[in-house]
Amino acid sequence: MAPPDGLSPAPTTGCAERPVRHEAGQREVFCGLTGIIWLHRKIQDAFFLVVGSRTCAHLIQSAAGVMIFAEPRFGTAIIDDRDLSGMADANDELDRVVAELVARRPDIRLLFLVGSCPSEVIKLDLSRAAQRLSRQFHPGVRVLNYSGSGIETTFTEGEDACLASLVPVLPETAEPGLLVVGALAEIVEDQFARAFAELGIGPVRFLPPRRARELPPVGPGTRFLLAQPFLVETARLLASRGAQHLPATFPLGAEGTTAWLAAAARAFGIPDARLAEVTAKGEARASAAIVRHREKLAGKSVFFLPDSQLEIPIARFLSREVGMELVEVATPYLHRGLMGPELALLPDCALTEGSDVDAQLDRVRAARPEITVCGLGLANPLEAEGLTTKWSIELVFTPIQGYDQAGDLAELFARPLNRRMRLAV
C-alpha cells in the first residue's frame, strides 16, 4: 500500500518498527527562518524578505552573528501597529517595501516573501502577494513565498518550505535525469557530480541551484535523491510532478554515501561491478580518514537533543562507523517513510520525537553521556555542569556529506573531547 503522501514506503523489517517516545512541552529549537542564513548564500541572486516582527529581524541577525555585513541578501519587513490596527493596508505596505527593495537591489532575480508567526497569525496572504508582485516585476524578478514561522517549522524545515515553494515553478521536462535535493556545500555538490559522472549517470542537477535562473527541470523521467533528511514537503511536491523518489540512507559516512549512490545506480541500471569500482575508492578514503577519530570515540556515549532531523543519520554513522554508544536520539520530527532506510540500520537506542526540554535535560543529567549534541542555548550551561557538548548548528553549517567529509564529520565529535583533555585549567 502506498503511503498517502506518494513517497516510497518504509521497509517493514528490523528496527524501523521500534517504539518512539513522543514528547510534548517546551521546545528549545530555532524556527524555520534560520534556514535563510545558509540559503541566501546558496542561491546567490535570491533575496529573502521576512514579513514579521522585530523579533524575527533580531533572530536572524543574532543567529547570523558577525556574518552579516553592510548589505546582506535578507531583511525583514517589520509589521508595526499601523498595519495591525488597519490604519495601513498591509498589502499596500508590503508592495511599497518590495518596490523599495527591488530598486535598492537591482541584482536580485528571485525574491522570497517569508512568512513568520505574526504574519501567519494575522493571516496575511503572502501567496497572493507573491503572485501580485511577480506580475508587477515580471520578467526581472520572480516573487515566491513560503513560511518559516516557528508555529509551523522547526529549524531546517525552513529549507524544506523554501525548496517546496520552488517545485511548482521548475520547468517541465520529459527527459530522464537525476535530481539531487537539499542545499549542500559547493565542494560536496561538486564531489557528488563527479561521482555520478563516473558512474555514468546523467544529467544530474541540484535543487536548490546556485543561481535563480538555473532552476532544474522536473518531470515523469526525473528520479530524485534526497541529500538531506528534512525535505518531506519538497519530496511530496516533486512526486506530485511525476518525479520518482529513490529511497536511501542519507549520504553521511561511507556506508550512508554508498547506499545513497547505489540507489541512484540501481535506478539508472548501472552494473554492480561499476558501482563497486566507483565506491570502493571513496570507502577506502573515508575509513582511512575515520580511523584516527575512531580510536578516540569508540565506546563513548552520545545523547542527541532534537534540532535538525539530522540526528538519526548522524547517530547511525557514529554508531556503525565510529563505534560510539547511542544513549538517546531525539529529533524534532520523524517521517518514517523518508527515515525508513536509516531506522533499519540504527542500532538499539532510545528514540524520541518532539521535546520537553526540562525532562530531556533531566535524562541527560542522569545518563551523563560523554557527548551531548544540543543547541547553543543549552551547550554552555551543560558544559558548566561538566558535560561535554557538541553544538548541533555546526552540523548544518559544515560540509559533512559524502566520502571525503566522513573524517571531518567524525572530527566534529572528537574535537570537544580532545579539547577537554588538553585543557589543564
Binding site: 517546551q26 521546545r27 528549545e28 529549537v29 530555532f30 524556527c31 524555520g32 527562518l33 534560520t34 516582527s53 522585530r54 523579533t55 529581524a57 533580531h58 533572530l59 541577525q61 543574532s62 543567529a63 552573528g65 558577525v66 552579516i68 555585513f69 553592510a70 548589505e71 546582506p72 531583511g75 525583514t76 519587513a77 517589520i78 509589521i79 508595526d80 501597529d81 498595519d83 495591525l84 495601513a88 498591509a90 505596505e93 508590503l94 517595501v97 527593495l101 508567526c117 505574526p118 501567519e120 497569525v121 494575522i122 514561522s149 516557528g150 508555529i151 509551523e152 522547526t154 526540562d358 543547541g375 547553543l376 542555548g377 543549552l378 551547550a379 554552555n380 550551561p381 558544559e383 558548566a384
Partner: protein, 505 residues
Amino acid sequence: MKLTLWTYEGPPHVGAMRIAASMEGLHYVLHAPQGDTYADLLFTMIQRDDRRPPVTYTTFQARDLGSDTADLFKRACADAVARFRPEALIVGASCTAELIQDDPGGLAAGMDLPVPVVPLELPAYQKKENWGAAETFYQLVRRLAARPAERTWERPRANILGPSSLGFRNRDDAIEITKLLGILGIEINVTAPMGCRPADLARLPQADFNVVLYPEVAETAARWLERTHGQPFTRTIPIGVGATTDFIHEVAGLAGVDPAPALAGQPSRLPWYSRSIDSTYLTGKRVFIFGDATHALAAARVATQEFGFDLVGLGTYSREFARDVRAAAEAHGLEALITDDYLEVEAAVAAAAPELVLGTQMERHIAKRLGIGCAVISAPVHVQDFPARHSPQMGFEGANVLWDTWVHPLVMGLEEHLLGMFREDFEFNDTAQPSHLGHGARTEEPAPAPADAPIWANEAEKELRKIPFFVRGKARRNTEKFAAQRGLGTITLETLYDAKAHFAR
C-alpha cells in the same frame, strides 16, 4: 511596515529577559511561539553565561492555536514554579502571543501561585528592547519596593541602578563605580538588577539616594523611587575623566561627604596621555558618534574635550532620550541623527566622511565598508565586546580603556606623516590598513554623486589621490561643493587648491 536589514534593538520581551537573567531567584514565563528560544543564545553565547536564562517559554505551535493556548500558558507557569521555585514570577507575551490575546497577567493572577506575580505589558509593535527592560525593572521595583524603610545608618548608603545582563561593559562598570563609592565612604545598599534577588529589591528604599548608571534601563524606576521614597538620583554618567569628576562631586553632594579622596593624585592616565606630544596629531580628527543615548552623549564630551577631536556627527537610536542628544548636537553646531534605520546611519557617515567612527556593532560594518577606523562604544555588540579582561567604560579606569580603544584604529602618527610624503610605496601605501593592524586592502566608496556633480579633470583626480586616505573623502566633497557653488562644470587642479584655501579659513 518598515524595511529593516539590521535592528539596533530587539523586541521589548528581550529587555524583560535581560532583567530576569540579571537577577537571581526571579523567573520569567513567556508566552511565545516555538523558535523564540533563540534569545537564550544571546545570554549563553554572546555573554557566555554558564546557566540557562531563567525563562520558560510556552513555545506554542500552529496545531496548538486551534486548542487552548491559555491552558498551555497556565501549565507552563505551574511547571516553572514547581521546578525552579522562584521568589517571584514575571509573566508576559512575545509579539506573536500579543496577537492571540491570552492575557498572561490575568491568567497567572487567577492561578493562586505561591509567589508574587508581576504581569508585563510590553507592546511589541511599538516599543523595543531597552524600553522593555526599563518597564520590567520599573514594574518589579514598584511591586516589590512599595514599603517605605527607615534609614538609620551611620554612613551614607546608595543603590546602584541599571547594570544588567547584555549591557555594554555593565559588569566592569559596576565594579568600577562600587570601588569609587567605597573610596568616598558610601555603602552600597543594593546593586540592581545585576546580581540581586527579588528580596533585595524590597530593600531599595533603605538607601539615601540612587546612582543611575544606565538611564535607558533604570531611569523610570529611579523616578518612581524619588517620588515614592524621596530618594534623589544622580544625573551624571561617569564616562570620561571630566564626567567622572563631575559624578564624584554630585555623589559627594548627595551623600554629604568630601569628594577629595576620590580625586586625589592622578586617578586616570588619560589626561597625561592626551597631553603628551605623541597625541598632538589627534587634534581635530573628525569623529562620528552613534549609539544608545547614554554612551553617545558621554562619548561626544570625551571625544571633544579629552581627545581634542572634532565632532562631525552625533546620533542615537534611543528615541526616549532624543531631546538630550539633540541639545548636545546643537551645541556642536550639528543636527542630531535620531533613527533606528541602519541605512540612514550609513548615509550620514558617508556624507560626514569622518576619520573615526565611534558606534555599535553595526557602525563597525559601515566603517569597514567605507574603510574608516572604528571603535565600539555602545550596544548592540557582539561576543568580542564581552571580554574576559577588566574593561570598564566608567570611572577613571574606564577612561584609560577609552583612550586605548579609540586611538587604536587610527593610523599612528609617524605612519600618517610618511604616507603623506611618500605615496607610492609598494607596501606601506594608503590602500593598506595601518601597519599596526596587520594587512588588508581598503576599498574607497565615495557617496553617490548628485546628477549635476562637477566632473573631475584627470589631472585634478590624480592630485586628489595624493591626499591621505582618511581625509580624501572630505577633500573630495569639499571641492565638489566649492565647484558647485561657483557653477564650475569641471574640477581642475586650480579648483582643488582654491577649494582647499577656501575651506582652510
